[in-house]
């Protein structure tokens, strides 16, 4: 949670500097973000490769557990797809790309900004932050009406870290490992799925 606030703080700081045009020319005219993204993805890769516990979780669990992230992927994409049908301003492809962030707002908004521009990038940022916030607030209700997987599903990629404590509290500790697994799978998929939706579909 503290991390999310710092991230928002940096975004807000940039926003204020941009609004007030209180910036050196170089930054306003050139775009460094692509190179920063290259660096970030290399680092994210090292993090995934180096994390022994994520490999172990994947090895030790039975095949049924795969269904959890799978139903989150299908559910999220079907959900935003339905929304785009009823909202003419939102194209299906854009809706799918935003939905495929699964709550991983930093990375998904960065990717979408690079491929589709800042407007959709901001929608992705807000939408995926909201996913985390709504999950933090509503897990008890979700679990009551939609069963034990509800918190994990609503949390999406955040089920492995920021929303894990609340999921574990309202669903039971034995589900924590499933939450972590689902969160890891979705987190790894975001950088593949988002560009795939925007560039290939």
């Amino acid at each position: 949670m503290k991390n999310s606030l710092i991230i928002l703080g940096f975004f807000a700081l940039g926003l204020i500097l941009g609004l007030t045009r209180f910036l050196p020319e170089v930054i306003m005219e050139s775009d460094f973000s692509l190179y920063a993204l290259y660096l970030l993805m290399f680092l994210v890769g090292i993090g995934i490769g180096a994390d022994r516990s994520s490999w172990r979780v994947i090895k030790e669990t039975n095949i049924k557990i795969i269904l959890v992230p799978l139903c989150v992927i299908i559910g999220s994409l079907v959900g935003v797809g339905v929304i785009s049908i009823f909202t003419p301003e939102i194209q299906l492809k854009e809706a799918l790309a935003v939905g495929a962030g699964f709550g991983y707002y930093s990375l998904s908004s960065i990717f979408i900004t690079q491929i589709s521009g800042e407007t959709l990038g901001v929608i992705a940022l807000l939408s995926n932050i909201l996913r985390e916030i709504i999950t933090l607030l509503a897990v008890p209700i979700f679990v009551k009406y939609f069963g034990k997987l509800a918190g994990i599903a609503s949390g999406g990629a955040t089920a492995m870290d920021t929303t894990l404590p609340i999921i574990s509290k309202y669903t039971g500790k034995e589900w924590a490992i499933i939450a972590i697994f689902s969160g890891i799978v979705l987190t790894i998929l975001v950088p593949f799925l988002v560009p795939f939706i925007l560039e290939v579909l």
């Binding site: 993204l37 970030l40 993805m41 890769g45 139903c71 959900g79 339905v82 407007t119 997987l149």
Partner: protein, 90 residues
């Protein structure tokens, strides 16, 4: 975007070998966090400079909210079905 995926795959490979060195991983984690800060900072600047976004912020916010509701409800429905069919006995 292919470059990004290639870099990430290279990273995963490299990560597999440096996984033994906790100091290196700690450094990588720190740099990851800071590059996320940097990118969101740059996105903030881009948005602030972009009048189209600033003038339409209420529409954009509303679109983001309804997409979130769609994504969460869709996930909940599929999670409910999956739970009933495969996990209930647990």
């Amino acid at each position: 975007m292919i470059t990004v995926l290639v870099l990430m795959t290279l990273g995963i490979g490299l990560g597999f070998f440096v996984g033994k060195f906790p100091k290196v991983i700690k450094g990588v984690d720190k740099m990851t966090t800071w590059s996320i800060y940097l990118l969101l900072f740059l996105l903030g600047i881009g948005v602030g400079l972009n009048e189209k976004i600033i003038n339409n912020l209420h529409t954009i916010g509303l679109q983001a909210l309804i997409l979130t509701i769609g994504a969460i409800l869709g996930s909940l429905v599929f999670a409910y079905i999956t739970y009933k069919l495969f996990f209930k006995s647990k």
